[in-house]
Symmetry: C2
Subunit: 360 residues, 2 copies
C-alpha cells in the first residue's frame, strides 16, 4: 500500500533521530512492499528560522494532507538560543501546542515501561522493580490550563497574571473512553488522577469518568489525587496499568514516570484525534547539548514510528517487526551512551539505526 | 517564658501523634523552665462532627490568639467516611485550606532529606543517593489554582467547570524572599520551578523571582520547568537545595520529594505568615487505616514541634535539643513499623514518644 507521511525533523537532535526512524521505515517498505512518500514539515525553531513563526498554515495543511505525522523534537537551549528572545507565543514550544490544537490531537498516549535489558538504568531499587513495570499514561492534550484564556494586567503598578483551567464534559468523556478502550487491551485497570478535593474541574472530571466507567464493567476504575500519584510512581510503579489524567497533570506525571523507568531514551508517544491521523514523537526532548554528535538514542523515535504503523496505518505486523527488531538489538547488547552499561557495546545514533533496520 | 500553643489533633492518626509531640514539648518545658499552655482547636473531620463545618470562626480566633499552632493531620477515607458525602466546601480538606487563608500562611516550608539511618528505606539506588540529599521545598500556599475563582455551569445539557490560576507580583515577591533568605542559611542555591513556556502566571513568576534575586547576589538562581523537575527529583535529587514554587506545583513536587527520600514518616512542615505565628504539621496524611492502633510514626509531628520552637517561639536551643533527641533514638536503633529494617527494634507510637522525650 501507499502512505503519505509528514516528517518533522524539528530542532536539536530531532533531524538525526528522525533520519534513523526513516531508515527503519524504508526497510519496512522494502520488506513488506509498501510505499511511503515523505513530506518534510517545519515546526518549532526550524520554522522560526525559515518563516519567523513556529508553525505556518502551510505546515498545518501538509500535516492534514498526510496519513500520519512523525516528529523528532523541538526547542533549544532557553539560555542561549535566539528563539527565546522572542515573545512566548512565537517560541518553538508554541508551535507544538498550536499543531496539537490544529489537528485536534486530544489524546496523548505515553507508554512507560522498563526494558528488562535496562534494569540497571532504572533509578529504583531492585525490590521496587520486582518483575518490572509497564504502564501507559493517557493524557488529555488540547484542554485545561495549557489552552485556557490567559492575561497579564497591571493596576497601580502591580502586575497580575491569570491562567484558566477549563474542561467541559465532552472533552473529558472522549479521553476517558480512550483510556478505558486501551485498558481493555491491557490489564483492565484505569487510575484516574485529579485534585478533586480542591478543583471544580477535577470534580467534573471524576464524575464524567465514573459515568464512562459504567460502560466498561470489565475494567477496574480507581481515583487518585495528583499529589499522591506523584508519590506512588516512586513508591510502587507496578500498581499502575493505565493512568488517565488532564493535560498539566499528565505533563508532570508522564515525565516523572518515564524517568522512573530509567528508559527515557526509549519511550515513544502518540497524539491522536478522532480520525486515523496522529502525531508520533519520542517522550524525550531535543537535547541541544548533544545535537549533531551522533550520540542521541534514536530508539524512542523508531518506536514512535512503530506506534504510527499500528495506530494510523493499521500495519500491525509491520509495527510488531519494528518492536521485535529493537528488542533483538538490545538483547544483542548494543547501546547508545544514555543506556550504556558494563559488558555492552557502545554505538552511535547512525549505527543504532542501521542495526535496527538490519534486524527487520 | 510562657507561650500559648493551639493544638489541632485532627483526624485519623492525628490525635495519637499530637499527643506524643505534646509529651516531648512538656519535657522541653521542664528541662528549660518554660511554660506552654495548650488550647485544643477543632479542624477538619473533628470539627464537622462537633459543629457541622470543617472550620469555625471560634477555631480561627483561638489560633490567632496563640503564639503557634501545632497540627496532627486531617481528613479520612474518602470511600467510607460520611464526611465525603458532604459537598466539597464542607469537607475536612476545605477546613485546612480555609485556616491557611484565614491566618494568611503564604509560605509553606517542607524539608525533604534522607536520614542516614534510613538509607535502606530510600527507594532510589545507592549510586543515586551518594552522600545523601537534603532539600527544602518552599511552596506558595495561599494563591494560585487552589484559591482562585471556580464554577461549574451547564449549557444545552453540557457541563463545563472552570478553575482560575492567579498571582500578583506581591504574592510572588514575598514567597521568593522567603526562599532566598532560607537559601542563605543553607547552600545558597534556589531552583525556581514554573511552566513559563506555557503559562502567563509562570512568566510573571519568573520575572519577579529574577528581580528578587538581584538582592541576593550570593545565592545562585536557576529556573526549571515543572515537568523537568518531576524527572530531576528522581534522577538526581542531590542537585537541589531550595526549590521555590507556586501552590499546586509545590503540592505535587513536595509529595514526590518526600517519597523519594523514603522518610515520609519523618518529614515536618511549617506554614508561615509575615508575623511570628505559624502552623506546623507533618508532611504525611491522616492514615485512617492505622488510626488508634499505636502504629503511627510520631517523628514528623515531633520534628514539626521543633520547627515551631525555632520559627514561632525563637527557642533555637530547645529546637536543637528535640532534633538531637530524635537523632539519638534513631542511632540507638528504635523504629516504628513504617521505617523498620533488619536488626532494629520495633516500637509503637507511644514508646517512640517516650524514647524521644527521655532523650531530651
Ligand atoms: C513543550 C511543552 C509545551 C510540552 C507540554 O508541556 O505539553 C512538553 O513538555 C510535552 O510534554 O510534550
Ligand atoms: C488536603 C489538601 C487540600 C492539601 C493541599 O493540597 O494543599 C494537602 O495535599 C497538602 O499538601 O497539604
Amino acid at each position: 500500500m501507499e502512505y503519505k507521511i509528514a516528517l518533522i525533523p524539528g530542532d536539536g537532535i530531532g533531524p538525526e533521530i528522525v533520519a534513523e526512524a526513516r531508515k527503519v521505515l524504508d526497510k519496512v517498505c522494502e520488506k513488506y512492499s509498501h510505499k511511503f512518500s515523505y513530506t518534510e514539515v517545519l515546526l518549532g525553531g526550524a520554522s522560526i528560522d525559515a518563516h519567523g513563526v513556529p508553525l505556518t498554515e502551510e505546515a498545518i495543511a501538509q500535516a492534514k494532507a498526510s496519513d500520519a505525522v512523525l516528529m523528532g523534537s523541538i526547542g533549544g537551549d532557553a539560555k542561549t538560543s535566539p528563539w527565546y528572545k522572542l515573545e512566548p507565543s512565537r517560541r518553538p514550544e508554541a508551535g507544538l501546542l498550536a499543531i496539537r490544537k490544529a489537528l485536534n490531537l486530544f489524546a496523548n498516549l505515553r507508554p512507560a515501561y522498563l526494558y528488562n535489558e535496562l534494569r540497571d538504568a532504572c533509578p529504583l531499587r531492585d525490590e521496587i522493580i520486582g518483575d518490572g513495570f509497564d504502564m501507559i499514561i493517557v493524557r488529555e492534550l488540547t484542554g485545561g490550563l495549557y489552552f485556557g484564556a490567559r492575561k497579564t494586567t497591571e493596576e497601580n503598578g502591580v502586575r497580575t497574571a491569570v491562567d484558566t483551567l477549563s474542561y467541559n464534559e465532552n472533552e473529558i468523556r472522549r479521553i476517558a473512553i480512550k483510556a478505558f478502550e486501551i485498558a481493555r487491551k491491557r490489564r483492565n485497570k484505569v487510575t484516574s488522577v485529579d485534585k478533586a478535593n480542591v478543583l471544580d474541574s477535577s470534580r467534573l472530571w471524576r464524575s464524567v469518568v465514573e459515568d464512562v466507567a459504567k460502560d466498561y464493567p470489565d475494567v477496574t476504575l480507581e481515583h487518585m489525587l495528583v499529589d499522591n500519584c506523584a508519590m506512588q510512581l516512586v513508591r510502587d510503579p507496578k500498581q499502575f496499568d493505565v493512568i488517565l489524567t488532564e493535560n498539566m497533570f499528565g505533563d508532570i506525571l508522564s515525565d516523572e514516570a518515564s524517568m522512573v523507568t530509567g528508559s527515557i531514551g526509549m519511550l515513544s508517544s502518540a497524539s491522536l484525534n478522532e480520525t486515523k491521523l496522529g502525531l508520533y514523537e519520542p517522550s524525550h526532548g531535543s537535547a541541544p547539548d548533544i545535537a549533531g554528535q551522533n550520540k542521541a538514542n534514536p530508539i524512542a523515535t523508531i518506536l514512535s514510528a512503530a506506534m504510527m504503523l499500528r495506530y494510523s496505518l493499521d500495519l500491525d505486523k509491520e509495527a510488531d517487526a519494528v518492536e521485535v527488531a529493537v528488542q533483538k538489538v538490545l538483547t544483542d547488547g548494543f547501546r547508545t551512551g544514555d543506556i550504556m552499561s558494563d559488558g555492552c557495546k557502545l554505538v552511535g545514533t547512525k549505527e543504532m539505526g542501521d542495526l535496527i533496520a538490519d534486524a527487520i
